[in-house]
């Protein structure tokens, strides 16, 4: 019973931070440049999930008013949703620029392995 209570309270935080740590592990350990960029995208998704789950209020509905009165008592916090909307679009802009730089790097060095690029020095 205590375990079920713990899970239902913290499951979203565990999921979000699990994604963040998997993303950081991919960035630190992997050697291929495109795999590092995939890790960056997973890190971004994890942080956005954490921000929205902080703004959740129990038994609240989406912050949109409607014509018919359906008996709404409380609504979810709207400010984190506005911030995460901005963050998702900025994430796609950063990823597009990073991939174009990776294409340029491949044409110059002929390989995408970061160890070999570091050894070349021109």
């Amino acid at each position: 019973m205590n375990f079920m209570n713990f899970i239902s309270n913290y499951i979203y935080y565990i999921g979000a931070f699990g994604l963040v740590f998997i993303g950081i592990y991919i960035i630190l350990v992997k050697r291929n440049l495109i795999k590092v960029i995939i890790g960056l995208s997973i890190l971004d998704t994890g942080v956005n999930l954490f921000l929205i789950s902080v703004g959740y209020i129990s038994k609240g509905t989406a912050p949109i008013f409607s014509k018919i009165d359906i008996g709404i008592t409380s609504m979810v916090d709207p400010v984190p949703q506005a911030l995460v909307l901005t963050a998702i679009v900025i994430g796609v802009a950063v990823l597009a620029l990073a991939l174009s730089l990776a294409i340029r790097l491949y044409h110059h060095y002929g390989t995408l392995n970061l160890r070999k690029i570091k050894e070349q020095r021109w």
Binding site: N9, L28, V79, V89, A96, S100, R104, H107
Partner: protein, 227 residues
Amino acid sequence: MRRIISIIILAIVALGIALCVINIPFGASKTKVGNYYIEKGREQTGAANIVTSVVVNYRGFDTLGEVTVLFVAAIGVSTVLATLKKKTKKEVEPASLVLSTGCRFLFPLILFFGAYIFIYGHLSPGGGFQGGAVIASAFLLTYLGCRGKRISEKRSKITESLSGLVFIVVGLIGLAVGGHYFLYNFLPKGVLFSLFSAGIIPLIYIAIGFKVGSEIAGIIDKLVEES
């Protein structure tokens, strides 16, 4: 070696973060700003969608910053890939009749759906960024389906620049006409739940929808270009 050190460091950081996150209660009300926007949002802005009124009206300057970041990223992609040596053009086999006809049939329907999403942004879930992404995926469909067709680059750049200009001009008119700050809501608020309501919010979202759509379509066109 590198793997073991990074796992140890991540475990220590995870322990520290777990000790902090345990104290954040899940599902309790945390800030007072959200309550203020929910109570006063309808009469101060006239929009039924509170997230839209926060993004465009209460925090409109942050949206201007984000549009700038997207613009700089599109310019960056164009610049980095401009001087690449082009390889010789391969012979692209044309797509089958069913595929190309289906793509040509679906293209205006998807554009229509994207336009519906950003026009009704202040009444139902949606808005400029979502509608812009749907429009960009309609252009992606023509790259995959009808092979060999390209977007004219000049037209997409003109659309993108004009939409950004509309955003800034609406903000400056608000500064000149009414109150003392940028992006002041100077158009009449209208009746709640009707299409022409909520002041400048539909205008700004239409401008953002066009801008994001043409920008991401331009980025995809620059990345695909092989000749």
